[in-house]
């Protein structure tokens, strides 16, 4: 076990009835990383997280968290892992105060430690004013905060957050991202999300899975740099016909052309493999009688890359 790694997933597999929800998954996370765990619905993100937290047992394979094996030392792993399950379940009849006291007792805190840590957490996540309101009466945002407080209660080495920002308003999302960012370096973070801006905003690593299998494990920067995709060239023009499109597709280095229309204007998104061929595109369109209003190179986003990675699927 290399001390630099907080999490090493090794051939993790979960078989349900007749299919693998998680299929021979391996990746690793360095201490201090904030990892974005991506994949379409049903990819196996929650299932993976449930295995890592010891909620369900792997069918085969294993993982190592902070030096402990999740199969052999499940209880040890649970002591250093915090978990916010999908849709943040909570005991609705409790208040944030009674809930966190209860959870701290389960975590082995004594009275003095509980009081101190819970006061601290209420400050940190900003729910001091709502400490004594039943959770059933709290808004989604406050519930998520309580769930996050529970996940980091015992200062875990790794916190596993399953869609922590789903259902929050933009201001709350920003708050949440700051909270998460401030957890490192003491706590490393593995978070699943469908929001790619989130990954761009806070993640230092991305792991993408589909059908339970690993597609990509990389940093956002490397993903952008090494993507087979180049930045699309976007053209807004008029008087375009199929002939023009065909002519465009003849150009050397054009990968694909997609066409959108808004009223009489056409919006072409042209993906190229090679060098800058903006002048060539301009030429072809005007030669075919098109009128160009705007032509620019669009910056490539993680979103484009992830979508195309997922479309591409497994090699």
């Amino acid at each position: 076990m290399n001390n630099d790694f907080i999490l090493k997933v090794d051939g993790l597999t979960k078989t349900y009835a007749n299919f693998n929800a998680v299929d021979n998954l391996s990746f690793s996370v360095k201490a201090g990383d904030i990892v974005g765990f991506l994949g379409p619905n049903g990819a196996g993100k929650s299932t993976t997280m449930r295995m890592l937290t010891g909620f369900i047992k792997p069918s085969s394979g294993t993982a190592n968290i902070g030096g402990f094996d999740i199969c052999k030392d499940c209880r040890q792993v649970q002591k250093i892992v915090g978990y916010l399950p999908e849709s943040s379940p909570l005991y609705l009849e409790m208040t944030p105060l009674t809930f966190l006291h209860y959870r701290a007792k389960l975590r082995g805190f004594n009275k003095q430690q509980r009081d101190k840590r819970i006061t601290e957490l209420f400050e940190l996540i900003g729910i001091t004013d709502h400490a004594k309101v039943p959770i059933s009466q709290l808004s989604k945002g406050y519930r998520q905060r309580v769930a996050l407080a529970d996940a980091i209660l015992h200062r875990p080495k790794l916190v596993i957050l399953d869609e922590p920002t789903s259902g929050l308003d933009p201001a709350q999302i920003t708050d949440f991202r700051n909270l998460i960012r401030n957890l490192v370096p003491e706590t490393s973070v593995l978070l699943s999300t469908h929001i790619l801006q989130e990954v761009e905003a806070i993640c230092t690593k991305v792991v993408i899975i589909k059908d339970g299998r690993l597609l990509v494990s990389s940093t956002p920067q490397n993903l952008l740099k090494n993507s087979a995709l180049s930045e699309p060239i976007v053209v807004e023009c008029q008087n375009i016909n199929n002939q023009t499109i065909d002519a465009l597709k003849q150009i050397n280095g054009i990968k694909s052309v997609t066409v959108d229309t808004v009223q009489e204007w056409f919006y072409l998104a042209i993906y190229t493999t090679a060098d800058d061929i903006r002048t060539r595109i301009f030429q072809i369109i005007t030669e075919n009688g098109g009128i160009i209003r705007e032509l620019h190179r669009k910056e490539l986003t993680l979103e484009n890359i992830v979508i195309s990675t997922l479309e591409g699927g497994h090699k």
Binding site: R50, T53, G54, F55, I56, K57, R75, Q76, Q78, K79, V81, Y83, P85, E86, S87, P89, L90, Y91, L92, E93, M94, T98, Y102, R103, K105, L106, R107, G108, D150
Partner: protein, 249 residues
Amino acid sequence: MRALQQLNAMILRELRSYFLSPMFYIISIAFLLMNGLIFSVIISALQQPDAPHGAVMKSFLGGNEFVLYYIMFVVPIITMRTFSEEISTGTIELLTTVSISEKTIVLAKYISASLIYIILWIPTLLYPIILSNYTHIDIGPIVTGYIGLLTLGCMFTAIGVFFSVWTRNQVIAAITTIMVLFGIFGAGMGEYTMASGTMREVAIYINIWSQLENFSQGILDVNALIYYASVAMLFLWAALQRAEAKRWK
């Protein structure tokens, strides 16, 4: 040490959650109304000149089948939520991932559900107190009568907890428990329908109806207590096996 703290914390949370739920108040009110009714019917029946003397508590604690039928419905309603509710809301994921053993979890659920059942009986202690103002009452049979009802109920609780581990659906948990309890009750009735043979011996041994009657007569039926404890342990052990398999969905 840690396990004990966890057990304690869980039981307190469970009890608090029962006390905060409308369900608890509905069953305790229904329980009291029902018991009050049975009690008053027994009193008026025993007021007939030819009725035996001092038998009110005996009839109340074991001499009538209504009490038995009633706890066969009440216990499943108490136990149906133990695991099913946590499975359906997802809080089971929180509970099982704090480094806690399944033994602690199952035991805490069992103890708190049993305590709730026992708490339901507390107000009925008023009956012997009221009666003692009017007539002489015999403490011995009352004590054994309560021992019978409470230990039998704790056996039922273990069965209910077992079925709750299996499903996220509280109604299914309650119905399967009720069916099994009536199955046990029905099997005991074999004592009266079968002429002889081993099956009848078994029926006699498991006849909860006659056991309750014995308890209410002042007999401390040790065989019955062993039987209740064994069944309870069997079902708790089975619940634990299921919990340790860690497939909650």
